[in-house]
């Protein structure tokens, strides 16, 4: 399977990828995007099986990315990995069609629990 990791912080992309590996998902292909707009292009070109996206990003935020994907008919499984996790954000994410939010800091155990059913 292919996973798109969208975050404007290259440190955080590295941490997400490392945690995916630690959680036992090391056999999946990883694609990176530094903002929402690049992620939108990447979804069209790479056709990932899962998108893990930050919320606050330049050019296009994570929730704007999700809305844009769903508006274009794309139903790729989508989850947020974000340092801010308010009830309002959870509601917006759910209404937008996201699977769930994972808050930073996260552990490999969290990734296993939340992503196990999707990634196998």
């Amino acid at each position: 399977m292919k996973i798109l990791v969208a975050d404007d912080s290259r440190v955080m992309r590295q941490i997400v990828i490392r945690t995916l590996r630690q959680a036992g998902f090391e056999d999946h292909d990883i694609v990176e995007a530094p903002d929402g707009a690049a992620a939108q292009t990447s979804v069209a070109e790479e056709n990932p099986d899962l998108v893990l996206s930050d919320w606050n990003m330049p050019n296009m935020s994570g929730i704007e990315l999700l809305h844009a994907l769903r508006a274009s008919g794309n139903t790729v499984p989508f989850a947020f990995v974000t340092s801010e996790c308010s009830d309002e954000m959870r509601t917006k994410a759910e209404e937008g069609g996201a699977l769930f939010l994972i808050s930073k800091p996260f552990t490999a155990e969290t990734f296993r629990e939340r992503l196990g059913d999707i990634l196998g």
């Binding site: 912080s9 290259r10 440190v11 955080m12 590295q14 941490i15 490392r18 606050n56 340092s83 801010e84 996790c85 308010s86 930073k104 800091p105 996260f106 552990t107």
Partner: protein
Amino acid sequence: MTNDVATTVEVDLDMIAEQVWSAFLNSGEDEAVFAAEDKGAHMDLAASVAMVGAYEGHLIVSCSHKASRDVASVLFAMEVDEVSQDDIGDALGELANVLGGNVKSVLPSPSQLSLPRVSATEHERWPGTVEVSRTVVSWRGEPYVLTLLSGSNHQEVSA
């Protein structure tokens, strides 16, 4: 504006630091010590994020050059002598960003978090602010000082 949240925040700073270190930096043999003794060691670098809105202030993490290399080395999975100045800046900035994001979540809302800024401590001043909480994390023998300031440069702070 003043933010009378010192007691609550003091507790949370240690807890938040522990969550962040445990998730992103600890690896078996080099467990961090939280609420460590503040020995007043010289700090070379400061990474900070500003909070603007219902809470006005800054979250700062400061450390030595060696400590900053350790953080970058672990976060980028590189040898210590391979990390660049850009790596150090990005790693420390992200550390401040995640700490700040979690601190912000227990402070009055709504408020916005700035992008992180990393610079030499000798170039950093925080006029118009008061320290509301401070703790020290000791990791790999190096202190990391976490400070929460209240107030901002553009507003008056009550005495």
